[in-house]
């Protein structure tokens, strides 16, 4: 019970303080809207926001899925081959330093105005966490276990299938959970690139240009809630696909 009451209480105090601060003239509401203006925008603009949310959430979910597949495959390749590790790993790390606002317009020119460039942006910013998480999971395999498999006459492929793949699975989920926050940011920035015409990121930009700050903050609230929800969904999926890892983690945190 405390787990729910305490954060809600804290949130209420913070929102209350914010409301009072704006109402008492601490800041111009055109610069920093009060909570009740934000709430009003959430209600009044619900049709527009819902429509934009669907666009953005589709980009995020598909982007993370693509990143999970590509990241997992790359992690396995790096794990299996020293040569790949030496050749690719530094490039993967370097790719993370390319700022999205620079990358996004180029991708639009290259891949067009559809969902594809946004997907690619989300996938690029997400996939590093998934590669690292997967590699981490692969590295948790006990060397003694690999020796045991050799004396059981298991081939490399069989060992991978029965031992390393399941061991890596929780790492994939950990990586995806870490990637949730950056993936949302990536989608928003991609939607603000020239030529983009939809999604929550596009609407944020529009609200800034139209002097509708309350709508802008409302969108930020939606993005935050969506990130928490996606994180929760991934946790559920992990419980379903890798229940053994969930049990271990659960015991530790108790």
């Amino acid at each position: 019970m405390k787990r729910i009451v305490l954060p809600v209480l804290l949130l209420l105090v913070l929102v209350g303080a914010w409301e009072l601060y704006v109402d008492l003239g601490g800041v111009d509401s055109l610069v920093w809207p009060s909570p009740h203006q934000v709430a009003k925008s959430l209600w009044v603009d619900r049709g527009l926001l819902w429509h934009s949310f669907l666009i953005t959430s589709r980009e995020v979910v598909l982007g993370i899925l693509a990143a999970a597949l590509a990241g997992f495959a790359l992690a396995v390749a790096i794990h299996l081959s020293q040569t790949t590790r030496r050749a690719v790993y530094p490039l993967v790390i370097a790719s993370q330093a390319v700022p999205v606002p620079i990358m996004a317009p180029l991708l639009v020119f290259w891949l067009g105005f559809g969902i594809l460039p946004k997907l690619v942006v989300v996938a690029i910013v997400s996939f590093f966490a998934i590669v690292v998480g997967t590699l981490d999971g692969l590295a948790t395999v006990d060397p003694q276990l690999l020796k045991l498999m050799r004396t059981l006459d298991a081939t490399r492929l069989r060992t991978f299938r029965h031992v390393e793949l399941p061991a890596a699975l929780p790492g994939v989920f950990t990586g995806a959970k870490i990637a949730v926050a950056v993936s949302v940011i990536g989608a928003v920035l991609a939607e603000q690139a020239p030529g983009s015409s939809g999604g929550l990121g596009f609407q944020i930009e529009l609200s800034q240009n139209q002097l509708l700050p309350a709508r802008g903050v409302a969108i930020v609230v939606i993005l935050s809630v969506a990130a928490v929800a996606l994180f929760g969904l991934l946790s559920l999926a992990e419980r379903f696909f890798a229940p053994w890892a969930y049990q271990v983690k659960g015991e530790r945190s108790r």
Binding site: L152, R158, H162, A242, V248
Partner: protein
Amino acid sequence: MPAKGATKTRIEAPAEEPLAFSGVAVEAVSRAYGRTQALERMSLHVAEHEVVAVVGPSGCGKSTLLELICGLQQPDRGTITTGPAVLMPQRDLLLPWYSAIDNASLALLARRVPREQARAQAAPWLQRFGLGGFEGSRPAALSGGMRQRVAFLRTLLAGKPVLALDEPFASLDAITRAEMQGWLTHVLASEPRTVVLVTHDVEEAVVLADRVAVMSSRPGRNIADIDVPLPRPRRRTDPDVVALRERALEVLGVPG
């Protein structure tokens, strides 16, 4: 990479030749890791279906010896001749994502036996090993003794004549360990195998083995062979067991 001039012989018993050697012959084997000499002219002979316990101070190269026997490492010098050997590592290392029966039949899965067939093959063994009713349990739901029994069954179902057991009961509490020692004696009576049992527990060695090979501290080599010509099952309080235990401890230089 074996050192220059190294001789290594490895005889894997071919299936069509049932009379192939299924004991263990380690002849004057040396093995070093960088500048650390783990084994120095170590010799060990185990006849078919003989149970030999290897005891020695920690760090004397006991685990290295088992890995050499299993073919996981090659000696720098000396020769090793052995039938196909399977390793049972110190910890049970059961796979948390597989049930007891899938863990027990891991050797079959490793050989691409279809899962249903592997289960069918393993099921009667689980019954025999007192694991009936726990086939579908994940390792986390099993007690320490049960996990160890599954791990031993996994070793046995590899179908190899030589078992290399690396302190299999070291992680168990005293009561469970005593139970498991009795259980292993019982199992080996009906399923005889050539066993090399590494342990730091001299009492366990005397209770379980036909012979106790005592190793020196690093670099490890065999400094004494103590025969244990006692009937089984043995009690640790039996005066003969106690006397042999004292002798082994004496060789190890531990004051009684």
